[in-house]
Symmetry: C2
Subunit: 207 residues, 2 copies
Amino acid sequence: MTVTKKRLSERKHQAILDAAAEEFMEFGFQGANMDRVASRAEVSKRTVYNHFASKESLFESITRQIWHQAQTATDVPFQADVAIADQLLNIAERELALLESPHYLRLTAVVLAEFARSQELATQARDWVKQEESGARRWMDQAVAAGRLNTDDAETATTQFFSLIKGRAFWPQMIEHAPIPTAAEQARIAQSSVALFLDHYGLKDDR
Amino acid sequence: MTVTKKRLSERKHQAILDAAAEEFMEFGFQGANMDRVASRAEVSKRTVYNHFASKESLFESITRQIWHQAQTATDVPFQADVAIADQLLNIAERELALLESPHYLRLTAVVLAEFARSQELATQARDWVKQEESGARRWMDQAVAAGRLNTDDAETATTQFFSLIKGRAFWPQMIEHAPIPTAAEQARIAQSSVALFLDHYGLKDDR
DNA sequence: CACAGAGTAAACCGCTCAGTGTAATATAGT
DNA sequence: ACTATATTACACTGAGCGGTTTACTCTGTG
């Protein structure tokens, strides 16, 4: 179990994960072909099955990676001494930054498609979406508690805020394979979402 | 080619379409099984293939039905003499009414999953989404032209309006299989979406 | 060199499934 | 009764694919 030896095996392991991600991105879960995964990874099929018990478990591993990435994206602390608009802008930008990775985007599409297809996974899906917005949700709770937003329903507000962003810079990319917005477009989306949101929820003396 | 003769064949045709819809809803496109479609439709497999050349073409036929349903949902005329808020509320309610049909919902999920999976269908998907919002989009254009909305970007406004609704009453049902909102919840969603939208885009003297 | 753990190639198993061919039967108008 | 068209049962083809087995090789270490 020396260093180099371990590394070889680990490289294979990672190669398989990468190849599988590619494969899932291109063909979805059902369409993915384990022979192709092996050949993509430049590894024998048997090696794939030595590292992962089944297609399912391989998919799970990939899913968990995506999970983690989204989870930490919008997790920012509430700062009482910073303008609400600026903080929301920051959150929006973090969310939008996720789109920059086509890898993330395509894999998320596959995972969501699986969720949409199977009710069994609905519970997982619920966790998933919650995780993704949980950081911002905490922020929103604190903003409401601090009396800096004109509502007592932080959950609705959170959903609405993200809906405004995702409706223009997530779902179109998921479903229509729309091009990823340029930095300028992202800025516009972030700003107009915040503006729309704060015209309703913002306090007059907070700008 | 008499009436009754035609009717028999047409009944089979429709039975196949219905059965296929069921099957696609339950298993998705790839998972759907043509033998099961036939047995669901209480029709021989050969008859299925006499009516539809392939699984794909059967799926296309189903897709087109959904198309049509969504297309006409929010197609309302702009009325210069009615308050903007009331008209928007009407559009929102029409959009929300689509959710009442689990049939529509589940099939849309399957279709969208297929779109998310394949770039080839991206073009079709783009048309699809445009169609769906085109009614409201026309309304929005006219409202802007009539100077009743405080913007000159009807497209963004349309997207934002629908994002607010769908973020709470479409995507959660698609992805997380969230329960369909009750009538009371739907009313709340419609009202708060319109309120949020008009606080930004509405004119002060229009309420 | 010897050894062990990991990797490899390729055949293989079992099963699923889209789609077809066929020959018999049913339907409904004339 | 005759005819044209639909429908049916069912066997079958051919391909794809998840996963396994086997017999062999490679790599790095002690």
